[in-house]
Amino acid sequence: MKIKNPIFTTEDLCAYYGDFMAIKHVTVKIPEKQVTAVMGPSGCGKTTFIRCLNRLHELTPGARITGKIFLRDQDILQMDPIIVRRKVGMVFQRPNPFPTMTIYENVLAGYKLLGIRLPKKEADRIVEEALKKAALWDEVKDVLHRRGTFLSGGQQQRLCIARALAVKPEVLLMDEPTSALDPKATLQIENLIVELKQTVTIIIVTHNMPQAGRISDYTAFFYLGELIEFGPTAEVFTNPKDPRTEEYLTGKFS
């Protein structure tokens, strides 16, 4: 299978926790400005895989990575992790707005925490733009100076998406972003993801097969740390090449 414009290319990527090998020799190209779903049973290394892509994996004591990960043509393992993380944003499983900050400050956290001062006009513009992209602007535009933690779970998660988008990343990693949300909030986030792929590449870990089917263009299937299958979602779902993918998709194991 040919991917023309890969934004991420991994070569023989392995990730370890101490002696335990959580990701085994993964070589894959992730297409730009598409939604790629990372699927597989619990403990198969999905989350570890995306945490390699912004080098958050290495923060776990004893964790390390071997192989190569290219962001376009730069090997991110040779780069300063701080620069990598500016280009590769992340949204977590549970909404995690900063409790000491207002909604406005949360959106600007990527600047404020780095000590970057923005002119008021510029800051206002970034906040409005990011919140609009995250489909949250209309709900919060009158309460921008309240604490982010006052929002509902779904709104908090969209606030976290806005916070990640505000620094204009090229890629947005999402680690089961809807698993802590109710169905309505989940639907809102799904619609948002489909919108966002116009401007940003999205790699999303999900346990939810219908969700992957609805929103993703490509699917990567992991099993026991190995990448078993990668291809257009429609193909992987209807005509899996590997029997293990088929078994997973038909619910034989999870």
Partner: protein
């Protein structure tokens, strides 16, 4: 009720009530001394409280009247200076233990030392401050008292800071790191502010504890009959007034010692209540 053995049933219920009543009364015992102390203080000391008492300097022996203005000011200066010395060191050490040292042997050793320091008798701390500060300077000073009190304060604030920061959820650290924020900035701008109310509570508790310490001040701040704002001179403090007056031969001074005790106890009580209110606010936010 329909029971086969009504007599036994009644006996059981009686036992239950009797023991419940007994332990309820016993539960009052820890609370009782506080009220007895407050009663005793106000009973003996309320008559010495007057405006003059707060704004005047001590009268010479044999003369009546006079106040403890210098001791009140002195306590604020000595305790304030101790806080200024102790808090920055403690917060940085707490940050180290929680965010950097974690489970390393060095961090573990620091924890043990802090716990042992907390158990060192305050009179010994006073002697150490005497050797470190009073001897080299050649005279008693408020500063030496502050050093002694800071030594008592440090272990308490270090451990509470560490514990509070450990309670800050990791997902907030990761949220910040994932935005490309360096770890040290994450600690200073996310972790510390998130735990700040808890850290403040710890500081207040520590201040309340040292404000009433007498032994470390005896041969450091020493006491002073006059008003001074210079921390390099001997300075009076509330516990010193109480100690010196209560052991003096003058009845007037005994009376003033009671008054000073009320002031000191109310100060410490106020700090404790304030820290409780803050702690409740944290609990409310969770």
């Amino acid at each position: 009720m329909n029971h086969a053995y009504p007599a036994r049933e009644r006996w059981r219920r009686f036992k239950n009530r009797f023991i419940l009543a007994a332990i309820t009364v016993l539960a009052l015992i820890p609370a009782l001394p506080l009220f007895l102390i407050l009663f005793q203080l106000f009973h003996k000391g309320i008559s010495s409280l007057s405006l003059d008492f707060f704004i005047h300097l001590p009268a010479p022996p044999g003369e009546s009247g006079g106040g403890i203005a210098n001791a009140i000011v002195g306590t604020f200066i000595i305790v304030g200076l101790a806080t200024l010395i102790g808090v920055p060191i403690s917060i940085l050490a707490g940050i180290y233990l929680s965010e950097y040292g974690k489970d390393t042997k060095f961090a573990e050793a620091v924890r043990v030392c802090a716990d042992v320091l907390q158990g060192v008798p305050s009179i010994v701390i006073g002697i150490v401050a005497y050797a470190w500060v009073v001897r080299p300077m050649g005279h008693f000073s408020a500063l030496s008292g502050s050093v002694a009190l800071a030594l008592m304060m440090i272990p308490v604030v270090v451990r509470t800071t560490e514990e509070v920061l450990r309670l800050v959820p990791d997902i907030l650290r990761e949220a910040s790191l994932a935005l490309g924020v360096p770890y040290w900035r994450t600690v200073l701008k996310v972790v510390l502010p998130t735990g700040m109310v808890g850290v403040t509570t710890g500081i207040l508790i520590a201040v309340a504890r040292i404000a009433g310490e007498t032994a470390p001040l005896l041969f450091t701040a020493f006491g002073n009959q006059f008003m001074t704002l210079n921390p390099l001179e001997p300075m009076n403090a509330l516990p010193l007034v109480i100690f010196n007056y209560a052991t003096s031969p003058y009845e007037d001074w005994w009376q003033q010692a009671w008054g000073a005790s009320i002031v000191l106890v109310l100060m410490v009580l106020g700090l404790n209540i304030l820290s409780r209110l803050l702690a409740r606010r944290i609990a409310g936010e969770r």
